[in-house]
Every structure is written in C-alpha cells, then in structure tokens.
Symmetry: D2
Subunit: 379 residues, 4 copies
C-alpha cells in the first residue's frame, strides 16, 4: 500500500472489439496504484467516445490520435504519466517512441516492435529517455512461473539439461482472417504483424518464458516455421530445436492451427536432480518431479513459496487468480518501480523485447536451414 | 458498456488485514461500472486512513464509523449509492439496515446476518426500502457454475436424483483463533459469528451452490455438525444428508479441519441421463458424464456455452479468470440491475440469505437428532 | 519365486457372461503360483465345456455341479486345493462351507454371504476347518491403498479426524434388470443378492476400504439407503454418516444410479497434520496434502514406498498395473500364506466378511432412523 | 474363447533380474491362449532353473542355450511353437532367425534387431519361413491408442496437420550403467544395444506410435540426438522434427535424462477440425478437443468405442487394465492370427521393426545436420 496518488495511465488502442486492451485496463487498475485517465482508444470517434464513457475517462481526454494525446497529457499538470500501447504490432515502435520522447513511461504489449531493427533503436530511445519501458510478457506474472524461476535459480534441480516449452492454440485453423475477424485480420497481415505470424504472436511468449525460467539465453536454434493453412502468408505453426548457453537442449513448439487447443502453454525444465512442470491450464500449481523421491505439487498463495511467488498472489491459496491478475502483477511491479519502491526486476523490458524480435527474425529466416546462431545474450 | 457515471461505492470494513474486503474492492471496480468513493474501513484511525490512501479514497471520505459515513454519503449529491458490508457477521444486519433505511443499496458478504430472525427482519427492510440488496455467494458468479445451472434447468440430465457437494478446507485444523489470527478469531467467536462456525462460513456456500445448480430447495436434512478441535465452541466440521423437493437425495460436506485441503469446493449432480461435476480447483471446466456416450468437458469462455455462462467471461477461452472475476460478475450484474439494464436475476438476495440462515440454525440445532424439516422454499 | 508346484484352483461360477469369474481366473494365474485345474463354471453343460476349453481345463474336470466337483477334486491326489467362489451371493455360503468341510481352502468374491447370520456361521466353519478363507475386497490389493494404510498407521497424518469414501457407478440408472441383463438381474433380486443392493455390491467395498485404510472400526452410523429407480426392490443409492472408534467422523456414499459415473471409488482421510486422497481413476497415485508444506504425489512402483506397497507392484513406476493385478495381489498373498511363506495379513478374511454383512444389515434396517450402533470390532 | 490347445511358448531371456521377460510371460498367458512350456531364461544354470521352477516349466525344458532349446522343442510333438525373444538387442536377430528357420513363430521385444541391415535380412527370413513374426510395440496394444488410430483413419479430425509425441523418462539421469545396474548396463553398451541408446530403447516406441496413430509414414526428419550424461557413449536425449507423408509436421521427443519423469509417453494429433491427446499416465482416456464444440473424453471399455478398441478391453469401463494387458492384447491377436481366427493386422511385424531401425540409424547419423530423408514407407 502506498499513500501517493495513483499513477495516471493513457491507453493507445483498446477500443471496442479489442481483446487485449480491456485486459490492460483491468490489470492496470486492479491494485489501485494506477488509474486510467486518458486514451486514444480508436480512430473511430464514436468508438473512441464509447470506450471513454465505459471506462470513466473524461470526454475531453479521449483523443482522436495518439500524438495529440501524448502532447496534451504531457503538458498537463495532472496528465497521464504512463502510456500503454495496445495497438497492432506495426504501431508499437512509433507510439512507444513518441511517448518516451515526451517524457512518459511506456508499457507495451508484445512483441516490442515490428522487427529487430526497430527494437534495437527503441532500446536506445529508452536509455536516452530516462523513462521506464515495460513489456507485457504476461506469463512471467504468474506466481508459479516466478516460483519456477526461483527454483531453477536456487539450483534445486541441479544444472538444467532439457527444456520443453509448448504453446498450442487452434483458433487460426481456418482462414478466418478472410472472414472479417478483426483479431485474425491484422495478425495475418505482414504490414501490421511483421515477419512473424504465430511465432510473433505466441512464439515469443514461449521463448521469453523459457529464458525467464531457465535463466540462460538460447544460443542456437533449428527451426521449422510454416504457414499451414492454404493461402496464409505468415506462419501459423512453429517447431524449433533450441540450445541454451550452458548446453541445455530444448524444444519450442508454438501453433495456432492445433485445432481444439485453447491456449495451452506448458513448460517443462529438467535438471540433474529433478524436473518441473508448469501448465497454464493449471496455473496455480507447480509440479516438481524428483529423481529420488515423491513428486511435489506447490500451490499458489501458499506460505512456503518464495517471496517472489508470494508477492504475486493477492488472496490465499485455493482462491484462484488468473490471467488478469498475472497481467496486473506486471503493472504493479512496474508502478512500484516508477514510484521508487522496487527495482521492477521482474518486469520484462526492451532488452527482452529485442531478444524476442531477434528470435522471430532468426527463426523465420533460417526455417528449414538447420542450426543457426541466435545473436544476443538474453539479458 | 454504458455511458452513465460509475456507481459510487462505500465499504464498511475491509481495512488492513482483511481478506474479503480487498476482494470486494477489486471485484467492484473491475468492470468500471462501480468506483470506490468512501469507506469506514477500520475503527483504527491509522488503518482507516491507510486503506483510503491505498485505494484512492479522499481522506475526508474515510469515516470513523459506518453510521457517520452513511449519513454523510447519503446527504451528498455525489455520495456513495451502494454500501458493501464486509465486517464480521454480527454487524451485517445493523449496517445493512442502516444503509437501506438511508436509501442506499447494499451488497453484503455472506452470511446475510447473525441469525435467521435478523435475516427475516432484514428481508422486510429490503422490501420496504425499495433498494436492492445483494449477497456475495461468490461461487454462483463462476461461468461454469452458471452453465451447470442452465444444463440442469434445460433438463439435459433428466430429473435430478443425487447431489454431492463438498467444501473442504484445512486452515482451522489447529486452534489458531487462540494465536492472534484475526480471520480465525472472529469466526470462532459466537458473538461475532453466530451459532454456526464452519457451517456459517463455508457450509452456506455449499448449500447455496447446491440449490442454485439444482434449482430445487432442500426440504429435509439430517446433520452431523461438530467442533472437532478441542476447546472450540463453534463447529468446524459438518456432514449433512439432504433431501430436495422433487425427491433428489444429497450429501453436503463442509469442513475446516480437513488438514491439507485448501479451498476445495466440488459439486456433482446426477440425473436420469447423466451427471455433471464442477470443482473449484478446475473452475474453468465443467465435466458432463453421460450414461450413453463419451464424457464432455466444457470450457469457460467458449462460444458454445449458454448466454448466461458466456456473459460471465471477459476474455476468450484458455485465458483463465478466477475468484476475483467471479466476485466481479456478481457486482456487475448488480450494478446493471441498479442501472436498469438487467434484472439481476442471478444475484443472490436476501431471500437466499434467509435461506442460508435457516439452514445453519436447523442443522446446528438438529445435529445428531436424525431427519428434520428445513423450512422455506429456497426462492 | 518358489520351487513348489502351483496351487491348483477350482472355480465355482465364472462361465460365459460372467464379469468377475474371468477376473479371478486371470488374477489367480498371473504370478504362476496358482493354476486353474477344475471348475463348475456353469449349470449349462455347453457353457461349462466352453469355459473349460477356453481356459485349458481338462474336459473331465469341468463338473456339472459344485458338490460333485468338490468331492472329486478333494479325493484326487492332484486335485484342486483352492476353491474360488464367483457365484451370485446366495450361493457363497453353501459353496464355501462345502469346500472348507472337504478340506479345501476358499477364496470368495464379496460379499462373504447372503446375510450376517451366514457370515457368523461361516466364521465358525473356517476356524473349525483349519483351512484358509480369503475375500476379494480387491481395492485393498492396490499398491497405493496399501501405502495409504501404512501412512495412517505410521501416524504421518496424526490422529484421523475425517474420512470421506465415495463409490459412484451409474450403470443401474435404468431398470436393466428387467431387460435380460444378467449382471443386473441377480443383483436386483433379494433371493440372490440379500437385503442389500448397491450397498451389498459396492457399499461393502467402500466400507471395507475405509476401515482398511483408517485402521479403526466404524462404531455408529446414520444411513439413508434407498431404491431410487421406480419398481426396484433393493437399494441403488446409499448415503451414510459414520463415526469411527477414536472419534473420527465420516461419510460413505455408494451409488449405482449416479448416471455417467463409471466406477469411481475415492477415499480421503484427514488427520491433524494432513490428508491423503486415493482415487481409483488414478490408482497409481496417492496424493498427500499437508497443513504446513507442499503437497506430495507418490507413484506406484517407486523405491521410496513402504515395503507393503512395493511388494504390490510387479513392474517399475510409470508402467501401470490395474484391476487384475490388484486382484492378483490378493491371490498371491493368499497362495504364499497357504504355502507357508507369508502370514497373509493383508488378505481380507471371514471376519471382514462378517463385518461387511453387519454393515449392510445395520444400514438397511436403520435407514432413515438416525444414528445406530454397528456391532463388532472391525478386526 | 477357443477349444484348441494353448499355443506353447518358449522364452529366450527373462531370467531373474529381467524387467521385460516376466511381462512377456504374464502377458502371453493372461488370456489362456498361450502357455509357457520351455525356456532358455539365463546362461546361469541356477537362475535358469529358478525361472523354470517359478513359472511352472518342467526342469528338462529349461535349456542352457537357445540353440539347443529351439532344436529340441522343434523336434518334440508337444514342443513350443512360439519363441519370445527378450534378450538384449544384439541377440534379437540371431535368435529370431534360428527360431524362424526351425519353423517356429517369433514374438520379439523391440527393437527388432541391432541395426537396419539385420532388420532387412530378417524381413526376408520371415517371408521365406512362412512363419509369423510379431514385435511388442506395446503401446499399440492399449485400447485408447487403437481408438485414436480409428478416429484418425475415419477422418474425424480432418487431414492431419500436426503431431507431437513425447516419451520422457529420467532413470538414466545418472551414469548408473557404471554402477552394476543390469538394465542400464547393456543399454549403454553399443555392442549390445546398437547405435541407438535412448532412441533405440524408447524413441522407437514414440516413432512407431506416431506412425500407428497417424497412419502415414515419416518422410523426413531433422534430429538432435545427444549423450547428455558425461562419459556416456550412446544417446540419452533426442529431439527430432518430423515431416509426414501428406505434409503433416511433427515433433518427437524422447529422453532418459528428464530427471523425475517416470514413463511419460504422450501423443497429440491435430487435424483440420480437432485434435486428440493420449497420455500413458491416463491411458484409459482419450481426449478429443474440437474446434467447434465441447471437448470429449472417451473411456476404455465403453460400448460407444470402435470395435478395435472394445476388443482390447477385458473388463468394463472404470476397471482399469494396464501395461501387462496392453502387452497381452498383442499376444492375443498374434495367437489368434496363428490359429487362423484373425489377421493379426494390429500386431506390429518385421516391417515395423525395419522401419524403427531405419529411424534410429537415420536420426543418429544425421543428428545436427539438418533435414534428411527417411527411407521406406512405414508399412
């Protein structure tokens, strides 16, 4: 708890029909440390006004475009100090840049940018701005993912040898991007999405999760990235072999044509002494399988968890939080860091964003071509 | 979405150390239809101020006692119009009464009152007030519980024959009420809790859930209600046989001394043609087992669900919501009803509150004495 | 392993159409310590011959009735020394009696007899005969049930406070006993089944399992035993409150009209420090939930299990055994005891059989009448 | 059921300390169609005699070596007609060859031979012999695996697009082959095991399972096959990208250094309309996830299953069979084919054996080298 005023938030994107915009709004406000104050929710004036009304934003602070909004809010004494970027990918860079250069902090939806070059440039802009930049790799906000990271870092499993991360969805099994499905539409369009389809949408989540939990960067990869649905330009299915610094082998699977799969993200990490399994479908649990004894199941909200994991739960064990709360954990840590009461160390930043873009570009470019190096160090 | 101002909320209770107070606050505000504006969070002035600061409530609207608060807010043009009651049980009646009589709506935590007499009196007060009264039987806010109710009501299972509802916790396995545990302390004290311990705390949830899903009232019961931990006055373990109108048999199990159990609420309903199982530990799923074909598993957020269940999810299937969102569903429906855009039909009311109190008093009084009638009709 | 000849087995019942007969045959022979040598499989000569041929029994040792068989086999130098009784219930007593009095050992399917009087008489006959009598309460043969018993006996959970045992089936949801279903037919007929329907068929399993794991007898019960399907004479649904010696409370649920349920037997035992859960649907696992630490999952076939549990697995962990192997564990222990290389301590005997009959008779007689004592001590 | 004499079986290998030998013995005899009659169980005379005594084999039919056994049994009127080969891999070829050339049928444990050349030669020998050759890819014997194959073959899922098969064990996480562990010892020795370690031991199971369920051969692969434990010669961890005829993409993961994993084999197959998941840990279930409706869970032993799946269960749904019974299904089908009452179509044969060897050799040779063709057609 804190006695300072809430951090004032402006949203770019997130108007009616958005999936992730409302999630940002709910997550940001959940803990009372952030309050939505302004927005450029939609280019459609009616929709823009509708969003503002629904979310308690004053009509005069629902702006027609993000540049106007940033200028106006930055100039106000009581203006927004944080901009959340929830547009399609191709706008992430320019909105983030504009906000940072106006002296505002930025929380961006993933991926960080449209491509690696933009991400590297944005990295410089963040540094130059002196402002904070966060990236909503939401799965790192789950308590038991944070516990998993702690367990690996503590060495409980011994040296890591094997990593399997799988993120399977089925919702793009049909070419619904040609059927006026807004969510599918921009994702299937390289101009808005970049060179990655599935890999940029959810592959980066899997990749980031693996590096987050393992605590070591991927150094090489061997990719099979494909557009399975006929007529689709961007990939919708990815199977990638990995090699981590330190020698651990891995497999990353991401798919949006695994028909019937909902949103199944699972990671398994095996070390010398045991393995851990976390699955989004049972996200309040973390299973530890040991070479030499009974399995253990750890439950979110329990007092025996690490401080990092405990801090990521609001209510006692057995009272499940979920996706919005995981998202909110990232916002809360970010707001605390801005307020000076935390280092925000668990909030993904632009380095992670650049890392994701390097992964996407490398895997897409090298698909089918055997093993290639993945540049960077996964900071 | 709506273009009206948010409903202004005042909280009675919920200061630092409260479990359920913050849940009410988060749930109420989640969908932007309600905003916390005032409170009498704690009798301790420092704690009261701390809660107000943390939650963005103006210092002058953090009141030292609920009576002052109700009077002041009712008198303000921009005053709170909804009071949430999150105190120990013994204050539910008087706070609810005061708020209603001041023309404010009330959302109360369960159980409705300290005893049945109060509940019946409160029922009259609600009617006389012309205001709305809601009760947070949170489990009825879960999408798949609402789907379960629809499935039974549609007759998919045929006539209901058997109901098993179990709510097992273990956190009162030791006499922690004697160790300065605030949550345990008031629950173990008849003056604050009423005649029911475990049965009043979680048994009423199980009871309400069963009647909610089955759609028929319990007419008779045969109870074994006991204080298992030595020295405890109120019950901590309950096993109750049920008979529903229409003839279905049932078993209700509620315990707070099932050591190791976290918050495991499960209901199974069997009809002539099949059965359903919902478990809080996997709350996004509803399993249907059929006499004549494969089992089915329905997932929250799916387009094939009933309208009632779909309306209770904010984000697509595979993105789990949780306890706070279930709570928020009750608040959202309640706010909509107040705003005139819904009938609030799924929001538990004072009739359900009275029903719960009748259940508690009957079961406690008749424990060990065989079968007795449960008065009322479970409206 | 042993260098003695296999124990020769004769089966009474088990001809074509039998469910449990073939299970006895497969289980008895699984470990090579017992060999089927003779049988009175069916009163229908063609079926009798068919069973003999299918199972490698010499034609002249397929007898037309059990009395002839017992006399002939007892007289042969190489005759059967063990008789397995797999008839409908009403014949259990007379076949067991005849075999024992002819000097043969007996393995009987449950329940032991048609009623308590028979069971008590059979108990005397067993003692007088000097032969061994075993009863296939098959669930006590599962490795993780034996582990559960060890865990409770060792005091790992502290004193037991609460027991929930549920055995739900749905296959009698329709009156298929009137549709020429052989399995349903005799079970629905009091002349063949006794006073218990569901309670005698599967309720006794649940009851025996509870006493086996808890290690204390049930002293009192309060029963709701009913025939739910119209026109049925014997019960098909049972809900019973229990009180164990030592004070633990319990609930026993058994049903054959839980439509859609397959064969779901689950037991939960809660002590002062933690609880255990075993479910037949995941029979290779035993879950321990602790008041003060992470949950544990123990896996059948693991080297960290108790000697009793380890002895009940044939193959390494992760290679699931099942119902037949659990049955075989009882036969194997029984054969070892007969051969003098084990005390057969885990094989249910006539005392457990009498106990089951007392349970059935008491619960049926007292259904709806509140709490009554259950005689006996659950040896 | 059948009125012919049981098929007489001789075992090569399987003496004390063997894991898979006793499984073959139990599985072969389970359904009374096969009876163990002879064996060359161990080169150690005492162990050989011990096995014979334990399993009811006459002392004079426990032979000191397999060549003597084959000659003697082939010459006897009542000799064994089926030889089961349960030795380490390097002997599979010569024992199988000797048995076939002596006019006996052969059931071999996997892999078929030490290398592809031997497998191709054995294929010719099988054809020339006019005898039957079966291979115990045991997982194809599970009812729900057979159901999965039927579902794909029927086109219920639409065209297959994606396959994930994972077989994770952890028991070789330490170099126990240097600690006198017999099972680990020969597996780690190329002279006894061939060029494949993990891939030859369990990778072939995963590979065969995938082709069995998908019904199409793997045409290309890209492998990462490694010896992770220091000092180990043969691989213990394999991650392989697959391409099936027809275009489906796949991933095959096999590991024996996934510490804590027991014997976790899982296959997921996604088509245009839905996906299926089968996991050995819950082998009695088959989950179908649909693009357009609720998930389904099919249960072994249910009357709604395909004939192929129903035939693979002995007892009703809810009464779990397991590994031994899956093994027994292969033996039963094999015995029926020999007896002329079935085509043995589901029994893996030498073609599948050769296929497995091609997979092992190709993957090992091409590990790290990108995509290569896999010869053969996966008959």
């Amino acid at each position: 708890m804190s006695d300072v005023s809430p951090l004032r938030l402006a949203l770019v994107g997130g108007g009616p029909g958005s999936f992730i915009g409302p999630v940002h709004r709910m997550a940001a406000e959940l803990d009372s440390a952030i309050r939505l104050t302004a927005g450029a929710f939609s280019r459609d004036p009616a929709k823009n006004a509708q969003a503002a009304a629904a979310w308690g934003v004053a009509p005069d602070r629902a702006y027609g475009d993000y540049r106007t909004m940033i200028a106006a809010e930055a100039a106000r004494e009581d203006g927004a100090r944080l901009v959340a970027v929830v547009t399609p990918n191709h706008l992430h860079f320019e909105v983030s840049k504009a906000a940072l250069e106006a002296g505002l902090h930025v929380m961006s939806d993933k991926p960080a940018t449209l491509n690696l070059a933009e991400a590297l440039e944005l990295e410089k802009i963040v540094v130059a701005s002196g402002r904070r930049y966060g990236l909503t790799y939401v799965y790192t906000g789950y308590p038991m993912v944070r516990e998993a990271r702690e367990i690996v870092a503590r060495g409980d499993l011994g040296a890591v040898r094997k990593v399997i991360v799988e993120y399977s969805q089925g919702w793009l099994s049909r070419p619904i991007e040609r059927e006026d499905n807004k969510q599918a539409g921009w994702r299937a369009d390289p101009a808005q999405s970049g060179v990655g389809g599935c890999i940029g949408d959810i592959g980066v989540h899997a990749f980031n999760l693996a590096e987050f939990v393992v605590g070591a960067p991927v150094e090489r990869l061997c990719a099979d990235v494909a557009a399975v649905v006929p007529g689709r330009t961007l990939d919708d299915d990815c199977n990638i072999l990995l090699r981590f610094a330190g020698g651990a082998r891995g497999v990353l699977i991401a798919s949006q044509i695994s028909a019937g799969a909902r949103n199944g993200l699972t990671i398994k990490v095996y070390g010398e002494k045991g393995g851990l399994i976390w699955s989004h479908e049972r996200h309040t649990e973390l299973t530890l399988d040991w070479l030499d004894g009974p399995s253990q199941v750890l439950h979110a909200g329990s007092p025996y968890l690490s401080a990092a994991a405990q801090a990521a739960s609001r209510i006692p064990t057995g009272h499940p939080e979920g996706f919005i709360e995981a998202f909110a954990n990232i916002y809360r840590d970010f707001a605390a860091a801005i307020a000076g009461s935390g280092d925000g160390g668990l909030v993904p930043g632009i380095a992670h964003g650049a890392r994701g873009m390097a992964f996407v570009e490398t895997a897409v470019a090298a698909s089918g071509a055997g093993w290639v190096a993945l540049q960077g160090d996964g900071r």
